[in-house]
Symmetry: none
Subunit: 190 residues, 4 copies
DNA sequence: TATGAATGAGCCTTCATTCAT
DNA sequence: GATGAATGAAGGCTCATTCAT
């Protein structure tokens, strides 16, 4: 038996939570998927809430670190932003279910939701820094960097989910081309 | 007695659903907020699900019609898109709670969620049409209009929500300026 | 408008109660079937219980009076019993739904159920009297007349319902022949 | 702790269901009677319906098997029928509450009721077989065996219940004597 | 470590009954 | 006489959590 119980549960939780969302998912579901007794989950995680929080934390960290590790200091801002766009699109394709969770569970006034937004914010900050750098070096126009970062994150996220949850195949290349164009030059020809 | 029970319930439902989300909201909550007996809700709406669906339908319709009625056929596409950006930003400020609901409950595989995405799609189509018109007349670059529409909708939505749920005041003018710039010319100075 | 509201409700109640039984039937069902407002029922009957009681009373009275009026004093007991058997079989065929109600709602410790059994007992007494008369004149064997009356009532009732609720057609003639034989000579050939 | 929770619940369910009938009985009632939490019932039985079905299944099986196991192939049909009459009377005395349930809940068009009638039919078939055997060997008169079986079952059932729910004591011996006489020779002296 | 039986608070929904019109 | 909107008590069922083993 290679897998520890903890990671079995973790994997099962991702499956179930993304399939059903936080509220509709039950600990029974997760236990069954992980092939452990329900009590065992409580041995490894304090509560449903904690399990969920842990899971989302890991997910966002995966996205943030994945992008951050590829952002080399010497890259020009333009290249950095291009990389972010590409990576986020790729991440959404790869972790579709997690992304559904993220977009679903981050809005509202509960502590958990505030917590999630904080995590997302830590990712947005990456974008924000790049935008600021670009503005400072004169390659980017002057905008409110926070708004712009949120906008770019949202643009990619919603477009990606729109496709992933629709019927069309998820063509990363086309999506990347269009999202890059929108972010860089906008729609106007002139 | 000015207010009909139905509209009392309707208002209370918006409050509660946006505060707690569909699953956590209870019919008791809504009844209490509306100052009616729980049974009264069921006299006017068949179920929690139906009440919710009705509410979201109305909300999206309000957004869509509000925008559509202002889009005059003779406007140039550029002006149309500008109007859309402005209106959507205004709508989010005005119906913050409803918008939280919308962004929260539209992702996932349940029928209800699929239904919501269809409604959102009907709004996105407005944007899509304008983009297509712009591409045809040569003022907009050639992109996948569906992706672009989803992207613009997402950009505005997430940026708006980001502010609305944060601590800063919701400055529509600034947000409008930046979102318009992003949509039209993108970030690059050149 | 020939029909009084009262009788409209009465008819609807028979339909609904026999279709669904006392507990599953709702006042809404009955009101809808009778094409009156729900409040109207309460104008004519004090409660669901009372409506039901009234209805069962009428039904049993119909059976009892129907039989009693045909039992002429000068008939020999044997002929009387034969008539009872025939009439009860006919009644079950004609008022199948009501008979279902009767057999369904008469057993248990509630007041209503006790009341129903009293009504049934008033019918059984007809049978009991005939049996006693037959024993007195020597044409019937000596048995506990009360038990025998209950037995005959049950034999016909259950056999009739068995057929009526099964798939076979309700052949009154065959049933009558067999029930009469069982009651008069039993199964033994000798 | 001798009693398993399951059998505690089972016993409580018999009590409550026979006291109040299927519809009026509540899971709260049963839980209270069994001294378990309501959730515990649902841990052992999927639903109220299933609990009830299980209970009735067991009961009829008890009756059927009890009788069947005593019916030796070499017995003459007359002796077999006598045994059936005796056993059924005994069973009704012993499981009065269950018998109330049975007679109460078997009539109507719901699936559950149809299911119950099927179970009862399996018992009636025992009687039917004996009657057919008797007709074949010439000791019983020729009748519709199905009707006759239903009739005998009903005769005993209703007579037994009539006594059990009345005020008189349940004298099995007298009842047996009379029911046997009715089944074998009928009421006529000649 | 791991289990799974047991718990009980909480939720959606139904429906007999009332009452202002 | 008649209506139907409104009520609120009650019931079936779910599920996160606990705990004895």
């Amino acid at each position: 038996m290679r897998k520890s119980k903890t990671s079995l549960i973790f994997q099962a939780a991702i499956d179930i939570f993304s399939e059903k969302g936080f509220d509709k998912a039950t600990m029974d579901d997760i236990a069954a998927r992980a092939n452990v007794a329900k009590g065992t989950i409580y041995y490894h995680f304090k509560s449903k809430e904690e399990l969920f929080l842990f899971l989302v934390e890991e997910g966002i960290e995966l996205l943030r670190e994945g992008v951050e590790s590829k952002l080399l200091p010497e890259m020009p801002p333009r290249e950095k932003l291009e990389l972010i766009v590409r990576e986020q699109i790729h991440f959404f394709g790869q972790y579709r279910d997690f992304c559904v969770i993220l977009l679903r569970e981050s809005w509202g006034g509960e502590d958990r939701q505030r917590e999630f937004r904080k995590m997302i914010r830590s990712y947005m900050l990456l974008i924000e820094e790049v935008i600021k750098e670009g503005m400072d070096t004169g390659v980017f126009q002057r905008v409110n960097a926070e708004y712009a970062a949120a906008g770019i994150f949202g643009m990619i996220s919603i477009a990606a989910l729109h496709i992933l949850l629709g019927h069309a195949p998820y063509d990363e290349e086309v999506l990347f081309t269009d999202m890059k164009r929108m972010a860089f030059t906008g729609l106007l020809t002139e």
